[in-house]
Amino acid sequence: MVLRMTTPRLLVLRAFLNDPDRERYGLDLALEAGLEPGTIYPILVAFENAGWLRSREEDVDPHREGRPRRRYYLLTPAGTGAAREALAGTGRRRGTATRKLAW
């Protein structure tokens, strides 16, 4: 599935690729990506729809923890590849733009 890449989406992918094997929850990712907290969920769900992410609820008792179960997100192998490609593509375009500017 092809996703339109926006700056917030790229920032989230970069945050994931900083440590692709670590599961992260929404707020944690938003802060790491430098996004305004509260704006990240449409991005995460779009990636999940595309098969780039999988998510799971943490296995804790919400009553014991005193909070709802967190949902943890992890890049799928397809998502890791797609994220690297998307970020590399952005880098290439930026390089081309820089060269054009230089000329």
Partner: protein, 269 residues
């Protein structure tokens, strides 16, 4: 803690989302707001404003998210289902492991059929973990012995289920609602009464009918297998363990009633 206003806003925002996704997203927002509570009211309001601003985008993508399946939202699971799943995991785990060790494990490794054919009948109580063993082995032997009986003769199972359910219920209630221990006491009483009624029935069914092994083990195995398939709110590892134990329990009941009758007769000796 999040304030009443925050909770009301989260509830209202959730109404704009598809039904299958609503509980999941409300849980996400609520958990985030609990963390942001340390940063003050302004941070929470900014968060809620940002969530409101991106709500149409979230609604659009959430509508395409499947209601179930590996990438979907997990349905909220009831406490009763979790309790039943935990009880079955513990009781069936104990029964299946004990059966594997005490029945086929000993029967085959110690060559009981060969020794019986040679004219000796080794007493199951005299071979490992029974017989001359260190005193420290006694509790392990007792646990395995009773687990073997649960697998072979069924009757300890209702009591084991009642015991495990009572312990889990009491622990659970004490942690959650200290003042509501009376509810736990009533639950334990009901479970114990059922076990006390079921145990003699189970013993009679096993002893005086052609049903070999009794009905509780296959019933518990079938319930565990069904929960593994039909309770999507449970985590995937928990469902996998339940499914495996359910199938193993059904296999134990089938073996006991067919090719394992000689082994079970030896164990009952």
């Amino acid at each position: 803690m999040t304030g009443r206003v925050d909770r009301a806003v989260v509830a209202a925002l959730g109404l704009a989302l598809p039904g299958h996704f609503r509980a999941r997203q409300r849980a996400e927002w609520t958990a985030d707001l609990l963390i942001l509570a340390e940063r003050g009211r302004l941070a929470r309001w900014r968060y809620l404003f940002a969530a409101t601003r991106t709500l149409p985008a979230l609604r659009a993508v959430a509508r395409r998210l499947p209601a179930d399946g590996p990438q979907g939202a997990l349905a909220p699971v009831s406490r009763s289902v979790v309790l039943v799943a935990r009880v079955l995991t513990i009781v069936l785990g104990w029964t299946v492991v004990s059966w594997a060790v005490m029945l086929p494990g000993r029967y085959l490794l110690l060559d009981i059929p060969g020794r019986m054919a040679a004219g000796t009948l080794p007493d199951p109580k005299s071979v490992w973990p029974g017989g001359d063993q260190p005193a420290l082995m006694a509790p392990v032997a007792a646990v395995l012995e009773w687990g073997g009986w649960a697998a072979a003769d069924d009757f300890p199972l209702p009591l084991a289920i009642a015991l495990v359910a009572s312990v889990l219920l009491v622990r659970h209630r004490r942690q959650l609602w200290g003042p509501r221990r009376r509810v736990a006491a009533v639950g334990v009483a009901v479970i114990s009464l059922q076990a006390l009624l079921l145990t003699p029935v189970d013993m009679v069914v096993t002893a005086f009918t052609t049903i070999r092994g009794g009905p509780v083990l296959p019933l518990a195995g079938a319930t565990a297998s069904w929960l593994a398939v039909a309770a999507p709110g449970l985590s995937r590892p928990r469902r996998a363990v339940l499914g495996l134990l359910g199938l193993a329990a059904l296999a134990v009941a089938a073996v006991d009633a067919t090719i394992g009758t000689g082994m079970v007769s030896w164990y009952r000796d």
